[in-house]
């Protein structure tokens, strides 16, 4: 079976137990995606599947035939960084950096969700326009833990990009 990762076709015929996370890291050499808890609690393994953010540790590679996966390596490069990557550097949105690839992939997914008008648990009006306040951002990014506690800078970095993205 085949899937597309960062624009490249990849084949997989391995052990059915291979999670998408392990496939990316061990078979594809894409070690930007990190393994934290391996149980969907920390968000370090967040990648985009067909544009939506998921925990790659809780998904089997075999279940992704035909899917389009974007990892942190596909989000941007040192020469051509994504605006989120630039903003994380500018705002020092990390200390050890282990959670950063997951934070950035998650933030990319989150910005797409907001553009689609998805509400969150703290959105007052389910049918109104979503405004990305700090409270909204904290709720929407609660699936990504940072054990260094760089949250305030992470929030600043994402808010800056979200603000620039607004018309």
């Amino acid at each position: 079976m085949e899937l597309t990762i960062n624009g490249e076709r990849r084949a997989f015929n391995g052990d059915p137990r291979r999670t998408l996370l392990d496939f990316l890291r061990l078979d594809c050499g894409l070690t930007g995606t990190k393994k934290g808890c391996d149980h969907g609690q920390c968000g370090a393994c967040t990648v985009l599947v067909n544009g939506q953010r998921i925990n790659s540790c809780l998904s089997l590679t075999l279940m992704h035939e035909g899917d389009t996966i974007t990892t942190i390596e596909g989000v941007g490069t040192p020469d051509a960084p994504d605006p989120l990557q630039t903003a994380f550097v500018r705002h020092d949105g990390y200390q050890c950096g282990y959670c950063t690839p997951g934070q950035i992939c998650s933030a990319k997914g989150m910005l797409a969700e907001i553009a689609a008008g998805w509400a969150s648990a703290v959105t007052r009006d389910l049918e109104g326009e979503v405004v990305l306040t700090r409270e909204e951002l904290a709720e929407r990014m609660s699936g990504n833990l940072c054990r260094c506690g760089a949250y305030s800078n992470i929030v600043d970095a994402i808010l800056e990009v979200a603000g620039e993205a607004r018309p």
């Binding site: 998921i54 809780l58 075999l62 509400a119 648990a121």
Partner: protein, 331 residues
């Protein structure tokens, strides 16, 4: 994970046949794969149902809505029809897990998620749900998150979800296909079981049965609230949750439908509470009576004793908000 064979179901009948032969259905996988990594679940065969055509949300002729079994929790909560007509369902879904998990988790998978009891999750501990006859570690152990209603001396685990609590309050139904091709519709209120002597059975699904959809009755209107009390403000399971659909008319409660999460082995319903509230003038005395009735048979196990007063307070707060009354108001 223990080794398993991976199969992809090409149709509902094939999925049912494989499940009848012992295969374990997998959709989003966010709960099942977690449990397989811990070897709490050790299926010999996984049956991937993700390619089945059960991903649609469709209006019903009676004004209701049919939500396909494979509709993701995110897609369901974001659907404009759900947000407008059944906001309680959207609210409950958004109160659970994270965006990453809800993007994968499905309607049927959410209904079938397993308890988060620590003893169930740890194969080194006794658990009658995981290993029938081995005992219950939670009864005399750490039971802060456990049941205060409807438990048995075999199991005090709770059903952990939020979505099903809202579905119970909204009187939704689960559409189920049997291996012989026949279909049945089970009210969500009767889908999950109490533990009794067979806590290994979470719900009424029979071997080989496949959930096709959840159906919602037409919108009931009124105020719909989902109040979830938990250890932290995001990404945590409920200690107590209250789902309420309340319609006021001329200063009286014309209709009240309540369901409670994290109190029992299933979303908890007490028709007596709904009956007491319906037709009555709202006020603190009425709400106290409702809480008395609800918690009549409540039993704490030590660490979870606090759930009894917490449920009372949460219920009163939700009823005040739903009826527009203030603390101290009397009918």
């Amino acid at each position: 994970m223990r080794p398993f064979e991976y199969r992809r179901a090409e149709g509902v009948e094939q999925a049912g046949a494989l499940a009848l032969a012992g295969g374990r259905l997998i959709a989003g996988g966010t709960n099942l794969l977690d449990l397989m990594k811990l070897q709490v679940e050790t299926p010999a065969q996984l049956v991937d149902v993700n390619r089945l055509p059960l991903r649609e949300i469709e209006p019903l002729a009676d004004g209701g809505l049919r939500i396909g079994a494979l509709v993701s929790n995110s897609a369901c909560a974001a659907d404009p029809r759900v947000r407008a007509g059944w906001p309680l369902l959207a609210r409950a879904i958004l109160a659970g897990a994270t965006f990453q998990l809800r993007n994968k988790a499905t309607t049927a998978g959410n209904l079938c998620q397993r308890t988060r009891c620590h003893y169930f999750y740890n194969p080194d501990q006794p658990c009658n749900k995981r290993a029938p006859g081995s005992g219950c570690g939670a009864l005399g152990g750490f039971n802060r998150i456990h049941a205060i209603l409807g438990a048995s001396d075999q199991c005090i685990a709770t059903y952990p979800g939020d979505m099903a609590v809202a579905l119970a309050a909204l009187d939704a139904a689960v559409v189920i296909a049997a291996p012989d091709g026949s279909q049945r519709s089970v009210p969500v209120r009767g889908f999950h079981r109490l533990p009794g002597d067979t806590p290994e059975k979470d719900n009424v699904l029979e071997p080989g049965e496949v959930i096709l959809a959840v159906t919602l009755p037409p919108p009931a209107g009124g105020t719909q609230l989902y109040r979830k009390v938990r250890e932290r403000s995001s990404y945590a399971f409920a200690l107590v949750s209250v789902a309420a659909a309340v319609r006021m008319e001329g200063g009286r409660i014309a209709q009240a439908s309540l369901a409670f999460g994290a109190l029992a082995h299933r979303p908890w319903r007490d028709p007596r509470v709904d009956a007491l509230l319906t037709g009555a003038r709202p006020g603190d005395a009425l709400f106290a009576e409702a809480a008395d009735l609800l918690l009549e048979g409540a039993q704490g196990r030590g660490h979870n004793d606090f759930k009894i007063p917490l449920t009372r307070r949460t219920l009163v707060a939700v009823l005040r908000e739903a009826t527009g009354t203030q603390p101290g108001d009397q009918a």
